[in-house]
């Protein structure tokens, strides 16, 4: 399929897709009808758990996040259970399973039980379309980007179900915020992705990766605005900190999770990480070249490159979570509608023009580098200009208090004391 890279031999472990494909063929021949699917599912589950879920969700997602945030907060983080505290996620899981799962008397029991379950399923589905390597993609469907967006809109309903079912005011606040925020952030997200799709001309994720590989450019350079919009929207829909208003702990006490305890809460917690990693994987695939790394994928197994990139991307989420304060709901909505949406539209117009130019002039592929420079400059100009147009004036905000030496009454702003130092 890709002669430059993969030999298609089953022993070519640089792409595990070869091995599993061969295995499936063999089993299909050997086993009666139907059983092969069961067996393949079991093997696939075990393999993906070992290769992806274990390092990602448990070690990076739970342990790494806690450790890193601990370091950001100048403390040690988990360091008691097992070597370097590595067994902390396991200990957490055991603790959560032992805990009593409380159900409030007035809660809508069915919905409350259903919500964590429904929350888990889409997370697993999301990974089906992610290409881990040239042949390592479970379902290389032609509308994978749409599929990803579609499936990732389901957990929103779940969080709504969770929040509403408790009959708790804080949870209802959380649910309302989730719903309101999602409507606002889907729009710029889809518009941003549209810009990407216009360039690549395909909705398939594998196609997007190959396009980037072929032109030797990552889409993050061609589409900086789309990347920023994707990152912000993703962190908004994942409830990561700068935008975690749906479970704002200091305001509405974890929002839709207020009444959950034990493993029901644990499922939400674990799957939050799962969604974050899925979003990171999607971002890496679309914007950061997926499993390619400028030729290095010939030597290093692409899936290792991919997992590494995903974890680095996930680090961005951890970083923002550890350092940024939270926005207010109305500010978040204003940001989506007044700032991101117009900029996304501008970006779309620019991309359409460039794409048209590219096709009509039958230009060389290296024109994308020119496009990249234009787009980066245009992105900076648009962000700066539009924020100024919206009334953003950072230099007018004094950041230091005035200083006076004598006690007395009111000091008017004009007289100013000794001014900001």
């Amino acid at each position: 399929m890709h002669p430059f890279l993969i030999t298609d031999n089953w022993y070519d472990l640089r792409d595990l897709g070869n091995l599993s494909g061969r295995l499936l063929e063999l089993l299909d021949d050997a086993l009666p009808f139907g059983l092969v699917y069961v067996l393949a599912a079991l093997i696939g589950f075990a393999a993906s758990f070992l290769i992806f879920v274990l390092p990602s969700q448990l070690i990076v997602g739970v342990y790494g996040e806690r450790k890193l945030i601990g370091r950001i907060q100048s403390r040690y983080g988990p360091n008691r259970v097992g070597p370097f505290g590595l067994l902390q996620p396991v200990a957490d899981a055991i603790k959560l399973m032992q805990k009593e799962a409380l159900t409030p008397k007035t809660a809508d029991r069915a919905l409350m039980y259903l919500a964590p379950i429904v929350f888990v399923a889409p997370c697993v589905l999301l990974f089906a379309v992610i290409p881990f390597g040239p042949n390592m993609v479970f379902a290389d469907i032609p509308v994978a980007i749409l599929y990803f967006l579609a499936v990732s809109s389901i957990p929103v309903l779940t969080t709504f179900m969770a929040g509403w079912s408790h009959n708790n005011k804080y949870s209802l606040f959380g649910a309302m915020r989730v719903v309101a925020m999602t409507i606002s952030y889907e729009l710029p997200l889809v518009l941003g992705m549209l810009g990407v799709v216009l360039f690549t001309g395909t909705l398939a994720l594998q196609g997007t990766v190959l396009w980037q590989k072929e032109l030797d450019i990552w889409l993050v350079f061609l589409q900086p605005i789309a990347f920023a919009i994707f990152f912000i929207s993703a962190s908004a829909e994942l409830n990561r900190t700068p935008t975690d208003i749906a479970e704002a702990e200091s305001e509405i006490v974890a929002g839709y999770l207020t009444e959950y305890s034990g493993m029901k809460w644990g499922l939400f917690y674990g799957m939050d990480i799962g969604y974050a990693i899925a979003a990171a994987a999607f971002g890496v695939t679309v914007f950061l070249g997926g499993w390619t790394l400028f030729g290095l994928e010939k030597w290093v197994p692409p899936w290792i490159i991919f997992i590494g990139k995903t974890h680095l991307f996930y680090f961005l989420f951890i970083w923002t979570r550890g350092t940024l304060p939270r926005l207010r709901i109305d500010q978040l909505m204003t940001f989506a509608w007044k700032f991101m949406l117009p900029i996304a539209l501008l970006n779309l117009a620019l991309v359409a023009t460039e794409r048209m130019f590219w096709i009509e002039q039958e230009a060389d592929d290296s024109i994308v580098y020119a496009f990249a420079i234009i787009n980066i400059i245009a992105a900076a100009a648009a962000v700066y200009g539009w924020s100024r147009a919206l009334g953003y004036r950072p230099e007018e905000t004094p950041l230091r208090p005035r200083l006076v030496s004598e006690a007395g009454g009111f000091v008017p702003l004009e007289s100013g004391g000794e001014g900001a130092t």
Partner: protein, 369 residues
């Protein structure tokens, strides 16, 4: 919003068990959507009848009670109380005692402001990071307290007529090390938060009080200074020899949560300056005068106040020549600063209310006493 869609306001209980009420404090807010239309405070969950208890104990025995009102600023509380009793009984404090008091009170201000700044940023949603940073520095101040008084939180260090113990010899180098690090730490916090767009958006213009309103609501401390009123008891009514030290009063611009925040940060800088000067000019001599254990001040009354970390911390003591105060009243700054809470929160959102509450810097032990 309210004109477009008919919605019924409902009551939301913020607290008593809520991560952002800094203790057992409760606000009953009536919200219309996310907008607050009414706010009512419910407090007293931590009421320990300190003022009544103090009427049954001798003047010296009351000092530990003052630790437990505002447990984040026990030194300042000690100081306010002993100043009131000294004023009542006409006791003079030796130079060295005064200097040590100033050092302790300023270190306490740094520790308390660390807590205030950290908790406030936590309320804005900065998920624990600034809190942890602030705790790191506060811990070092508490170590100094432990070194001198033996206790970290409730120090019980001031005595009528001076302080309980002289400074240990390790104190000065340790304090100098801390003072060398503190400005860098304050710059760090400033770099992390003050220029941050999200933080600015969350705090600018939130809970703004004009100077007239702030005065009328009897506010004090950083709340008053944030509104642009240059009022600091240390400057206006110097005690313990504050007139000898060179420092400035930081004041804000429009009296919003952000102004209070930057005022607190700047106050920490000024406190560092004061401690530096006090250490440089630390006089010798005794640290305390001898005061009879069963002190019986002459009949009369005294109102003494200090500039506590949260504002004007006053003690009103009435004596009837008995061995214990006839009336013992605390003017708790964070309690009185709360009186403007409704003014500041109504019309904002729930998230704003949390920020406003954080900017007041309440200590429930002091509110309920």
């Amino acid at each position: 919003m309210s004109g477009l869609i008919k919605s019924e306001p409902f009551t939301l209980n913020i607290g008593p068990q809520h991560p952002s009420t800094h203790g057992v404090f409760r606000i009953k807010v009536k919200v219309d959507g996310e907008r607050i239309v009414d706010a009512e405070m419910v407090m007293g969950y931590l009421h320990r009848a300190m003022e009544k208890l103090a009427e049954e104990r001798t003047y010296t025995q009351n000092i530990p009670f003052t630790d437990r009102t505002d447990y984040l600023a026990s030194m300042s509380n000690n100081l306010g109380y002993v100043l009131a009793v000294e004023k009542l009984a006409g006791i003079n404090v030796p130079e060295r005692g005064n200097a040590i008091r100033v050092i302790m009170a300023e270190l306490q201000r740094i520790a308390s402001h660390c807590m205030a700044v950290g908790a406030f940023t936590n309320d804005t949603g900065a998920w624990q990071t600034p809190v942890m940073w602030c705790f790191r520095e506060r811990e070092r101040v508490l170590d100094l307290f432990e070194m001198t008084s033996g206790a970290r939180l409730t120090c019980n260090y001031m005595r009528i007529g001076g302080v309980a113990f002289d400074l240990p010899k390790e104190f000065e180098p340790a304090t100098r090390r801390l003072l060398a690090d503190l400005p860098g730490f304050i710059d760090e916090i400033e770099g992390l938060l003050v220029g941050n767009e999200i933080f600015l958006a969350r705090t600018r213009g939130v809970g703004a009080l004009s100077a007239e309103t702030a005065t009328n609501f009897s506010l004090s401390g950083p709340m008053l200074r944030g509104s642009g009123i240059a009022w600091d008891i240390r400057k206006a009514d110097p005690y313990c020899g504050y007139e000898k030290y060179d420092f400035q009063i930081p004041i804000g611009y429009q009296g919003d949560a952000f102004d209070r925040f930057i005022v607190r940060l700047e106050e920490m800088r000024q406190s560092v300056k004061i401690v530096q000067q006090a250490l440089d000019a630390l006089p010798g001599g005794p640290h305390s005068t001898q005061v009879p254990l069963a002190l019986r001040p002459p009949a009369g009354e005294a109102y003494a106040r200090v500039e506590g970390p949260r504002g004007e911390l006053g003690y009103y003591v009435v004596s009837d020549e008995g061995p214990s105060p006839y009336r013992f009243h605390i003017r708790p700054p964070s309690f009185i600063n709360l009186s403007a809470l409704k003014e500041m929160t109504v019309g904002g959102t729930v998230a704003d209310a949390i920020v406003v509450l954080g900017s007041i810097d309440i200590v429930v032990g002091e509110i309920d006493r």
